[in-house]
């Protein structure tokens, strides 16, 4: 029988809170959160029973922030402070944005900023409010804490956009288990439920982005063979095409409010035409008239054609003939449009799948993946192998981009490249990292610039500088450089040029979102405590699983560091926790290495005899 525990006064342990992991679809138009309970995916509704949270954030003069439907209602009346489709601005600089319904702050070289009545806001902050609302929804509905999430991003998102998404999560106090490509998530949703083998094409036409991915599923492994798409094409453009049609027919909309009104009417007319063949539109005095299915089809055909061109290109990239595609999965609300289904069906010569609600399928897959990563799912044999969507390169002489990691390379990926100095006595080397397919650096996206300093003076061409590019499983880049004759080293976690610096994130955390944890020091302490818990759990589990791999006396050393971390964790000093984590990490590094090698050896056992000639 367990002994009763009696706490010292004032040291009552925190009540045992349940912890959940979730999948979050952070969409251009709508966002969702889902979690797995008892093996079933639960897409969580709000108090009103709605699962779709409109990705709209309104900033009020008094500092209040509203998110979702309430904010959406103000889109017409308060258009400049009500931010919709912010996903399109993620990781973008001022000069990337040609037109915007919002007041954008003049370019200062960094990420674009939206001027609101509550001050300038970055897309990262706006997205953090959406994520925060979803987190609150889960915690209120399930009565536990959100301990980690898989967040989906378009497969086509570049480094800066991925980093911005991760930063938004951090700002919202969410630990990101993995950034997952949306089409991959959709395949997970279908794949797990149906246990298929073969090639899948995922056609994802959302509110603001189009993605197409080619995935191979075999022996429990999902592999993304190729991705393509258009980061600025979606249902919003269909609405705009309908408004353009009305304008050609004499609609008059001058003010932003009137424009917004027409756009909303276009969207609802388009939705009605999913089942109806014609519909009446009354936007008096701006416009009124009739919209037929044929009108709509003609208006959106050029947009659909662009998506089909991208599909053909992805198939060509992967060298896969159309006939080899076993199934086409539809994702995104815009795929409810009959013309889209019809033309996708014609291209692939088979009816596309849409049995899982196309608005929810990504969140469903993300929730499954979160469950898997958290180790809850029995299907632990499944593995996602993703690819990098755009080539990473560096600037070489003549303003050209030298591709270091080509697009569609499986991730994680790494590649080392040697450079040398071109002047006698040169002590520093500037490296400019770009992303994109074009040959000229000017046509690619500038990701980061950094310098390797402290190269000992040598004659030109004598230094050997080895630069290693490593892309992790979230598609994020790390660069390290080493001068091999002297050993001078510099490592950079690449903060994209259009991203936020750590200092900016700290500042945002400080002035952060209205929440119990708005105090930055407290937030930072919480982050360290979460990291400490994760680390202690991992080491405990490792000690329990492989005691035979411990060297003499090693258990005692690791146990001492574990105890030290436990003490630090329960204290209130974030810096001390950070140091204790690092110390435990160092003390258990050799043990971790032996465990991983042993895991491999175990898996290879029984094969080696029969298969090695």
């Amino acid at each position: 029988m367990a002994l009763l525990q009696i706490s010292e006064p004032g040291q009552t342990p925190a009540p045992h809170t349940r912890r959940f992991v979730a999948g979050i679809d952070l969409g251009t138009t709508n966002s969702l959160i889902a979690t797995v309970r008892d093996g079933e995916v639960l897409v969580l509704p709000d108090a009103a029973g709605e699962v779709l949270l409109p990705s709209v954030v309104r900033f009020h003069a008094d500092g209040r922030v509203t998110v979702g439907r309430m904010a959406q209602d103000a889109e017409v009346t308060d258009p400049l402070n009500t931010i919709a489709s912010v996903k399109r601005l993620m990781g973008r600089g001022r000069e990337d944005v040609e037109e915007s319904p919002y007041q954008l702050a003049p370019g200062t070289g960094g990420m674009v900023r939206i001027e609101t009545i509550a001050g300038d806001k970055t897309p990262v902050e706006v997205s953090a409010h959406i994520l925060g609302a979803l987190k609150a929804r889960l915690e209120e509905t399930l009565g536990g804490a959100l301990s980690g999430a898989v967040i989906t991003v378009p497969a086509y998102f570049d480094e800066a956009q991925r980093q911005a998404t991760k930063d938004a999560a951090r700002l919202a106090g969410i630990e990101v288990l993995r950034l997952l490509n949306e089409p991959t998530a959709a395949a997970v949703a279908y794949g797990l439920d149906r246990n298929p083998e073969g090639l899948y094409c995922v056609y994802d036409l959302g509110g603001g982005t189009f993605d197409v991915s080619l995935l191979r599923l075999s022996q429990g492994v999902f592999e993304v063979l190729a991705t393509g798409g258009d980061a600025a094409l979606g249902g919003d453009d269909m609405d705009a095409a309908v408004v353009a049609l009305w304008t050609a027919r004499g609609a008059q909309a001058g003010t932003p409010e009137e424009q917004r009104r027409l756009v909303r009417l276009a969207r609802s007319a388009r939705e009605r035409l999913t089942t109806a063949t014609e519909t009446e539109v009354d936007a008096a005095p701006l416009y009124s008239g009739r919209l037929t299915r044929a009108d709509l089809d003609a208006a959106i055909d050029p947009l659909i054609e662009r998506t089909l061109v991208a599909c053909r290109r992805v198939l060509k990239d992967a060298g896969v003939p159309i006939a080899d595609i076993g199934a086409v999965v539809l994702v995104g609300g815009a795929t409810r449009t009959p013309r889209v289904r019809e033309r996708v069906g014609t291209l692939f010569r088979k009816a596309p799948l849409h049995d899982i609600d196309p608005d929810r399928v990504v969140a469903v897959g993300a929730a499954r993946q979160a469950d898997l990563l958290a180790g809850n799912d029995g299907a632990a044999d499944m593995l996602l192998l993703d690819v990098i969507p755009l080539s990473l390169g560096i600037e070489i002489m003549g303003g050209l981009s030298e591709k270091i990691i080509p697009r569609n390379s499986p991730i994680p990926a790494s590649r080392a490249q040697e450079f040398t100095t071109y002047k006698d006595g040169q002590q520093a080397l500037a490296i400019h990292v770009v992303q994109g397919e074009r040959d000229l650096v000017a046509d690619c996206r500038s990701l980061a610039r950094f310098e390797l300093r402290g190269i000992p003076p040598m004659v030109a061409g004598a230094a050997r500088i080895r630069v290693t590019f490593q892309v992790d499983a979230d598609g994020l880049l790390n660069v390290s450089a080493r001068e091999t004759t002297s050993g001078v080293e510099s490592a950079v976690a690449v903060r994209p040029s259009f991203g936020l610096s750590d200092a900016e994130i700290e500042r945002m955390l400080k002035e952060s979102i209205a929440s119990a944890e708005s105090d930055a020091a407290l937030r930072s302490l919480r982050e360290q405590q979460v990291e400490a818990d994760r680390m202690m759990e991992a080491v405990d589990a490792a000690l329990a699983a492989d005691p035979d791999l411990l060297a003499d006396g090693e258990r005692e050393v690791i146990a001492a560091h574990l105890a030290a971390l436990k003490t630090a964790r329960d204290g209130g000093d974030g810096q001390r926790i950070r140091e204790a984590i690092a110390a435990l990490d160092r003390a258990s590094a050799d043990f971790a290495a032996r465990r991983m090698d042993a895991g491999l050896a175990r898996a290879m056992k029984g094969r080696s005899i029969t298969e090695f000639p």
Partner: protein, 172 residues
Amino acid sequence: MARNYFDLFGLPAQFDVDPGDLAARHRERIRIWHPDRYVRGTSEERRRAIAMSADLNDGLKVLRDPVSRARHLLALRGVSTDEETDTAMDGDFLMEQMVWRERLEEAAGRAREVAALADEVAANRAARQARLASALGGGEAADLGRARALVRELQFLERFLRELDDALTEAL
């Protein structure tokens, strides 16, 4: 010294590699090493998982393609192919290249002729790959010098084939 990718996949360091077997070995290993397996692991485990998975992915790419596989084999035996620094090529080979390039210029825009030239160059590449296989076969007796020249020539041919592919797309 570059790492030995054959070791990584438990394969003997030889030119003949069965692509299906290689893919299966990659899958088997990436299943174990992928960072998804270490989301809740220690930082050290996560670092190693990323590095190891990256090596596996790079190794698959290197060993899957016959030319990069040959280059890797040569590097393991201490022979560098020096494509970046040594630009001296065999005279007959350069002559053949010039003739092909002239034909491409003349055929520009005419899809059928570009396609015929592409087929011819592809056949030439296949013949060279077969010669590469025999140059690298035979264990200790392998003709490394001959293999080095063939790798360098195949590098040229592949670049030219890509240009032909672009020209064909343009002509269609």
